[in-house]
Symmetry: C2
Subunit: 228 residues, 2 copies
């Protein structure tokens, strides 16, 4: 359960930019964390049904073309479709436009590469999924280790599940720590991973090499897009 827990004062507006091939958990972690106390607009280039990179059929509730002219937060998730999102001029233009005026410009996982392609991370420290982090340099950002990296109003989070930590951090930043604490208890976010393999600092060589090999084609694609 997530539930409408009403905070004091006005609700910040959040534009979440979805696209085909995004990782659903990158989006839903922040979505179900933030949507209780903010007005989240789930946006995409199209209102037609999309598929996540694991095949979940979903739909945005509005198009980028119909989005509010100003939002407090711009957010973009990562996923196997990251390079396709960078090729979608509507996505990149929307992020560049709203991002230039937003209070917070944010991402989870490889979403930061899309922010980079929109020119929003030049001269900023930023993070990404650990296996793609170094690619940020191609967009003028300073790749920085960290589950959540904050540089002025840019807040970028690490791979996939970092989106939950990110959502709570942003909620506290905008609405105060108690809002985040209530939400954390609602989501029973008291993590207890059964293994210690969630970071390249603690995982074994086999795990690291398996992921690096899987991510390599995406990194190559991003490099070719950044070179244009």
């Amino acid at each position: 359960m997530t539930g409408p827990l009403t905070p004091q004062g006005p609700r910040p507006t959040v534009a979440m930019v979805a696209y085909p091939g995004m990782t659903m958990l990158d989006l839903i972690g922040p979505y179900d964390t933030l949507s209780q106390m903010t007005d989240v607009h789930l946006l995409a280039s199209t209102i037609d049904e999309l598929r996540s990179d694991t095949g979940v059929p979903f739909r945005a509730t509005g198009t980028l073309a119909d989005a509010p002219a100003n939002v407090d937060v711009v957010f973009v998730p990562g996923g196997e479709g990251t390079a396709d999102a960078i090729r979608d001029q509507q996505v990149v233009d929307f992020l560049a436009d709203r991002g230039a005026r937003a209070r917070y410009v944010t991402s989870v996982c490889t979403g930061s590469l899309i922010l980079g392609a929109a020119g929003l991370l030049r001269g900023y420290k930023a993070t990404s999924h650990w296996a793609t982090r170094e690619m940020l340099a191609l967009f003028g950002a300073e790749p920085t280790e960290g589950r959540i990296v904050v540089d002025r109003n840019r807040i970028t989070a690490g791979g996939v599940t970092a989106g939950i930590d990110f959502g709570l951090t942003l909620l506290a930043e905008m609405l105060g720590e108690q809002s985040a604490r209530v939400t954390q208890l609602m989501l029973e976010y008291d993590p207890d991973p059964p293994f210690d393999s969630g970071s390249p600092l603690t995982a074994g060589d086999f795990e690291i090499e398996t992921i690096r090999t899987f991510v390599e084609p995406l990194n190559a694609e991003i490099a070719s897009l950044a070179a244009v």
Copy 2:
């Protein structure tokens, strides 16, 4: 990113039962954890578009009526629509039928109350979202504290985000610890909650009372359904 990381040997089949008003994160945590290495069937009473309890439009990829006759895992998420799911005879009948033959009968959050309504938890220790856990007794289960509670082949998880710990636990149980470790690294699941309010054991009185008040109507509805 989540990615198709292929394990050795046959892929277990997982039937995930979705419904209107479910919590998206309850489902997507396990879905994006398990779908890399198992065959997940995302099922619902209907193939029409549904909405999660936070308003995300999504769709199942198949109906309960067209589901495989036998699956290795039956899974059901929780959410504000839990009582409606219990009233949906197709959902309850499907869980009772496949659950009777599945290797694992599983849930996240208030999904365990739906398993209970299907008669699958009588005489079993089980958990739920912390604020609804005691309701399990109405279905003959033994409410048990724990982020993941295993009793024979019943695996029930706590509220919402417990689904990620659950997914990794089930993956290790079915396909070995290395499969779970690779997945954990892919999802960069190295949690670092910014606050310590994820459990009623550590949260403050205000947070606990806010959630209890919010959950009270659902508990009352579940009690009236269990009394029938």
